[in-house]
Amino acid sequence: MEGFPILSAIILAPLIAVVILLFVQERMIALIRTIAVVSTSISLILSFYLLFAYDKALGGYQFIEKIEWVKSLGISYHLGVDGISVAMLVLTSIVIFTGVFVSWVGIKHRIKEHYIFLLLLVAGVFGVFASLDMLFFFLFYELAVIPMYPLIGIWGSANREYATMKLTLYLSLGALFALLGLLSIYFTSGAQTGVYTFDMLAISQLSFDSGYQIKVFLPLLIGFGVLVPLAPFHSWSPIGHAAAPSAVSMLHAGVLMKLGAYGIIRAMWLVPEGAQFWMPWVAGFALINIFYGGMVAMGRKDMKFMIGYSSSSHMGYVLLGLATVNYIGVNGAVLLMFAHGIMTALAFSLIGFVYDQAHTRMMYDFSGLAKKLPFVAVAFAIMAFASSGLPGLANFVAELMVFIGAFKEYPIHAIVAVFGIIVTATYMLRSIRDVFFREPQDKWDHLKDATTFVERLPFVILIIVLMVVGFYPSILVDLINTGVVPLVDKVNASTLG
């Protein structure tokens, strides 16, 4: 596959599907679904190909593609991946592939439009992870955000109009703040070298004045922090999850939130000294995320809200890991991004599956569903245990690495973070007990378990991924590490003063 623009192909597969879908009649449901499945499976296969084709020994950015786009401004369509991005691409392709199947089951009206928006969204996400150009990075990001508006607004559940508006506005606000920071870097680097370019590879070679780096990191941090979501800018996220249809929640929590963390990683890469200066702050806020998010999750009765807040809690671990700026912590953070993406996708697909039948997500409305829905119960339990960091599932390794990494830099933070796993276990197990355990109720007799292939496939895929990574994390960590080491070295090499 030498010379084949594999990254572009990953991004374009869903886009081409969108174009094809535009010309397909709305009533040809089977065809529409097939197109969606085919396009996402192309992306899936290609991203898995990347996973194995990426030369770990070589490291750095590979599969680079570059086309001049706006010459006068130094913007180019510049793609390339390092270990971190490959992991994220794989995550995205898995989540969207399963998401297509979840929508297959869950979405009953305006199917064509739904898939169009869904595929647009995912093309944007792929683009973000593959971009090496700051402007394209941003453009793809927004491309991922816009479809959220109709996706939640049309196919969402309660309170969807409020939620989708809030979400869109927040995400855009964050993005624009980040854009200001990126622009500033663009001009500063241009002034320094005389060549104005948005090329991150080129910019990462430069070193800026440390005072400037400190200043410019802040808008980037806030901008991407909103997406993470960094407390106290997190409130868009749980309600967004809650209102969104399953597949969208999956993508939202599984992938979109990772964009923020990924953005922060990129910011660390561009302005290492700024990162070094602000990282203690990030760690502090991460702690708030972890503890506060966990506590709020514990007080929630609505399952989606619970998972939503738990996501913000978990993203706190990611941030804490990044804030450590050591190999172990950052590796852990990136792996956790992956693991949490899969786990939370599983969570939302399951909750959506139950909600679509029961029309409630309140834990107190349920009991004893394990009898009626054994498959769902098992899957949910796996999700819950993954979330609470049980070994054998991907999250454990990642969280452990974050703890180890964090303990070195911020021991107190690490202690609180470790305490967080108790909190997580509490609400996760409580939800299992409330929903799946205890006496079955007659009123839920009509619920059906996931029995067909299409219904089960997404759950099975996600669980398998969780387990495979959990059992043998090196499959990803070796890859991620190739991206993490240069990053950490770069940040640590810079000395403030």
Binding site: S72, L73, L139, G153, T168, L173, L180
Partner: protein
């Protein structure tokens, strides 16, 4: 004194067309004047063609300047006018009488704008401005049977005249401070950068006077009412071409004539820009009428454009040009959709757009793309435009403005999304499809594709506008 009439051929073509339309009235019978519109369009196209490879230089005694900047904006005006004429054709049945004169006034207004773009002197600028203004006063009040139209016309006239008074008062002081009215002479006089009290007065009042044309604070007050009340094609004309005309003279005055005293006015323009951003966007939020909403949003847009002016750089100038193009396309597409919708439903209220996506996907998607482009969502043209403006602001270190701009961009997304919400998320009251005739369909498609293309592949246009900006700056210094 060279006359060099060749340079002004496009204007003559436009004026000629206007006169032809006027004269044709003597021979026309019946209600419809679509022929006049078509003639206007043909004339505009001819003028646009005549601009190709137009030599640059001064003409008509030296107060007329033809340069790349002028040519660019003239093309923009011509393009806008063509669409406005088309919108007027769709709208025509709402005009009770004097339809031919309507078209000819549009053409006259167009010629005025082209003159504005080519003005090299305060006198010619002022006179051209008034030419445009008078045409627009008449056009705004054109539907004398309609109470709102007349009210809009009167409000526009009184505020416009007041603003002109301020403007010309300010110009008199600039004249007093520099002893000349030609932009080049003023620039030469101010090269040293030293300022006098008269210049200060003149500068401040002139800048404020100029804000009327672009509807920014403090002379923004007319725009919501006029957008709402005047005939829709006129509102479209006001929102796009008239605003662009305002900015071309602002570019000429601020960035060439007054470039020497940049330090004096950057703060002033920043203030105006910030205030416009805040006022326009916040006040747009509670609006119920879509034309009014766009009127308020236009105030916000003026704020963005002024931000680029405040940046006072090549990049900022290029940004203004790009923004005007993207913005005009968005506005025109939206207004065409609004007119078609109004023809069918008789309402401009946002809530009446409920479920439009089910009734006419094309109208809905056109409004969706048009409005979101105005809001600055990527990958639409409006985003690249805003991006340029932020870039210009950040480059010059206008951080406070940039942050206000970002926050207000979010606010603008909010209110435009309210329209989108109504169209896409709300159920329709009735499900009858809204018919869109085939020419309109084509026009809407063109607008949508253009907006998308500007967002996805802005390269050629940016290269072009940056080149113009570069040339412009080179010529002024």
């Amino acid at each position: 004194m060279e006359m060099n009439l060749l340079l002004a051929v496009p204007e003559f073509i436009v004026l000629g067309t206007a006169f032809i339309i006027l004269v044709m009235e003597f021979f026309m019978t019946g209600g419809s004047r679509k022929v006049s519109a078509v003639i206007g369009i043909i004339g505009s196209v001819a003028a646009a063609v005549s601009l190709i490879n137009m030599p640059v230089g001064r003409a008509l005694g030296g107060l007329y300047i033809q340069d790349q900047l002028a040519i660019f904006f003239k093309w923009l005006f011509l393009f806008v006018t063509i669409i406005v004429l088309y919108i007027t054709m769709v709208y025509e049945h709402k005009i009770e009488r004097w339809k031919g004169e309507f078209y000819s006034l549009v053409m006259f207004g167009l010629s005025g704008m082209m003159f504005m773009a080519s003005s090299a002197d305060f006198i010619s600028f002022y006179v051209s401005l008034e030419l445009v203004a008078v045409c627009l006063y008449v056009l705004a009040a054109f539907n004398t049977g309609n109470r709102l139209s007349v009210e809009a016309g009167l409000k526009y006239l009184v505020t416009g005249a007041l603003a002109s008074g301020f403007l010309v008062y300010g110009i008199s002081f600039i004249y007093g401070a520099t002893g000349s009215t030609g932009f080049t002479d003023i620039a030469v006089a101010l090269m040293g950068g030293d300022t006098s009290i008269y210049l200060m007065i003149g500068l401040a009042i002139t800048v404020l006077g100029l804000t009327f044309k672009v509807s920014s604070v403090p002379f923004h007050v007319w725009s919501p009412d006029v957008y709402q009340g005047s005939p829709t094609p006129v509102a479209a004309f006001l929102a796009s071409a008239s605003k662009a005309a305002g900015f071309v003279v602002i570019i000429r005055i601020m960035l060439s004539a007054l470039a020497g005293v940049k330090g004096e006015w950057v703060m002033l323009v920043s203030l105006i820009s910030g205030a416009s951003l805040i006022f326009g966007n916040l006040a747009a939020m509670p609006q119920k009428d879509i034309k009014r909403l766009i009127g308020y949003a236009g105030i916000g847009s003026a704020g963005y454009l002024l931000m680029a002016v405040a940046a006072a750089s090549e990049l900022g100038t290029g940004a203004i040009m790009f923004y005007m193009v993207a913005y005009s396309i968005g506005i025109l597409g939206s207004f065409l959709a609004i007119v078609i919708f109004n023809n069918s439903e008789g309402s401009d209220l946002i809530e009446s757009y409920a479920g439009l996506s089910r009734r006419s996907p094309l109208l809905a998607i056109s409004l969706f793309i048009g409005l979101l482009s105005l809001a600055g969502f990527p990958p639409l043209g409006g985003f690249i435009a805003k991006f340029y403006i932020f870039a210009a602001a950040v480059k010059e270190g206008l951080w406070a403005l940039a942050v206000i701009g970002v926050i207000m961009a979010i606010v603008s997304m909010y209110y435009f999304l309210l329209v989108v919400k109504s169209m896409y998320l709300r159920p329709p009251k009735n499900t009858d499809p809204i018919k869109v005739d085939c020419v309109s369909t084509v026009v809407l498609y063109i607008a949508n594709i253009a907006t998308l293309a500007l967002g996805i592949y802005p390269g050629p246009l940016t290269d072009w506008v940056m080149n113009i900006a570069k040339l412009f700056f080179k010529s002024t210094i």
